[in-house]
């Protein structure tokens, strides 16, 4: 019989796979939320732009609420609110919904900025050439507006990707939660946190750099 009992086991290769799987989950939940949130955000941004006084009296304060309350509180609130209205959601669905709305709230302002970035005379000119409202939107506003706000949108998307770590409070095992589980077992916090941090960094840093580069090139 062994003289001492060891409760903790070392860091193994399997654990790396476990972390990898969790990283995929992080990518999945943030990818879905960013995609859905952006679509919703563009819609809200358009409403904010076209709705004028009505939208700034109704939609804007609502979106503002999502930006003024910590995401973690929003997650806990919605997770506990869903059963009250009779929805049974798993942590993934719940996290996706909250992150989507959160992304939309952030992206709406960005999208409105994009529409505002297009000079009004330019749009009048396109309408004078006989373009319909939607043709003007698609062929004139979109190409110029998207270019103006792309770096800001990348910032929002990366922010949501990083904030997706908070979904762990609902029990969804994404990268940071997985690393916590491993830390509890292996008692090697530094190594595991370094791996998890390196993953986020490797994802975020090149994209941020790329967006900076684009911003510089387009501003010339």
């Amino acid at each position: 019989m062994e003289s001492s009992l060891n409760f903790f086991t070392g860091f193994k290769f399997q654990d790396l796979l476990f972390l990898g799987e969790a990283a995929v989950r992080t990518l999945l939940i943030s990818g879905i939320s960013i995609a859905a949130g952006t679509v919703l955000g563009v819609l809200f941004g358009w409403l904010l732009y076209e709705g004028r006084i009505f939208a700034s009296a109704t939609l804007a304060p609502v979106l503002d609420v999502f930006r003024s309350i910590p995401l973690i509180i929003q997650l806990v609130l919605f997770y506990n609110f869903a059963p009250i209205i009779g929805l049974s959601l798993d942590p993934f669905a719940c996290g996706t919904i909250v992150l989507t709305v959160y992304t939309a709230a952030l992206a709406a302002n960005v999208a409105r900025g994009g529409i505002e970035a297009v000079a009004i005379p330019l749009r009048r000119a396109s309408r004078s050439l006989g373009m319909t409202y939607w043709q003007d939107m698609i062929y004139v506003v979109a190409p110029i507006g998207i270019r103006a706000i792309f770096p800001a949108w990348v910032g929002v998307a990366l922010g949501v990707m990083k904030d997706s770590a908070l979904v762990s409070v609902l029990g969804y095992i994404e990268l940071l939660k997985a690393s916590q589980i491993l830390i509890t077992r292996t008692q090697e916090p530094f190594l595991i946190l370094a791996v998890a941090g390196a993953f986020y960094f490797a994802l975020s840093f090149p994209v941020a750099r790329f967006a900076d580069r684009l911003e510089q090139r387009w501003s010339q």
């Binding site: 973690i72 509180i73 946190l193 941090g197 975020s204």
Partner: protein, 219 residues
């Protein structure tokens, strides 16, 4: 819908929640003040420093900006434990927030410094000021005017980020709420009230910063 809302326990604990809100505000303000100082130093190090100083600044800034705030808190909370350094929950949150704030603010300050014409510095030096005097009296006041708005935003972010203290056992507004909620199982009610308190805090900060801006930037 067969759920009965019970708001009474929440209102009973409301004074304590508001007190916890002050703790949140306190840690956010403190992390902001230290973050501003460190941020200025990092920005200058990144622009004017020697190679090693520049690397330190770049590493700090990019790590703070490209990893989740929660990761940074965990790092200060558990990661440093590997070196036998165990911080109290208050210092975990304070150091994590300060690290994050300093990284973001450094980039704001760098933008601000670059917006000041070189000639300002030269003119100040010509008038016989030392480099430090020139920075403190001429450059930094102008930079503050440029970064005032981003700084306000960062302050709001600091308040929102401090809610992560709940996950490292710090009893600020969120942590306190969780404590009460798990005692009474009125999770929704407690967190709803907490959400309102956060909203009020954020609006107060924005209002205060607007009034302050009117006082500071009259000319």
């Amino acid at each position: 819908m067969d759920y009965n809302f019970h708001w009474r326990p929440v209102f009973r604990d409301l004074p304590e929640l508001i007190e916890a809100g002050l703790v949140t505000l306190q840690v956010a303000v403190l992390s902001m003040l230290i973050g501003i100082v460190v941020g200025i130093v990092l920005a200058i190090m990144r622009m004017k420093g020697t190679a090693p100083a520049r690397w330190v600044a770049v590493a700090w800034i990019e790590l703070a900006r490209n990893t989740p705030a929660l990761f940074q808190l965990f790092f200060f909370g558990f990661g440093l434990g590997a070196f036998g350094l165990h911080l109290s929950p208050f210092f975990i949150v304070l150091s994590g927030l300060t690290f994050n704030n300093a990284g973001y603010l450094a980039e704001n300050f760098r933008g601000g410094f670059q917006a000041i014409p070189e000639t300002q510095m030269r003119a100040a030096r010509c008038l016989g000021m030392t480099a430090t005097q020139a920075y403190v009296r001429i450059i930094i006041p102008q930079v503050f005017r440029i970064v005032y708005h981003p700084m306000t935003n960062q302050m709001v972010w600091a308040v929102l980020m401090s809610s992560l203290g709940m996950l490292v056992g710090f009893r600020e507004l969120s942590g306190e709420t969780q404590f009460f909620a798990s005692r009474t199982f009125r999770i929704f009610e407690y967190f709803a009230v907490t959400a309102v308190i956060y909203y009020v805090i954020v609006k107060l900060i924005l209002g205060f910063s607007r009034v302050l801006a009117m006082r500071l930037f009259r000319y």
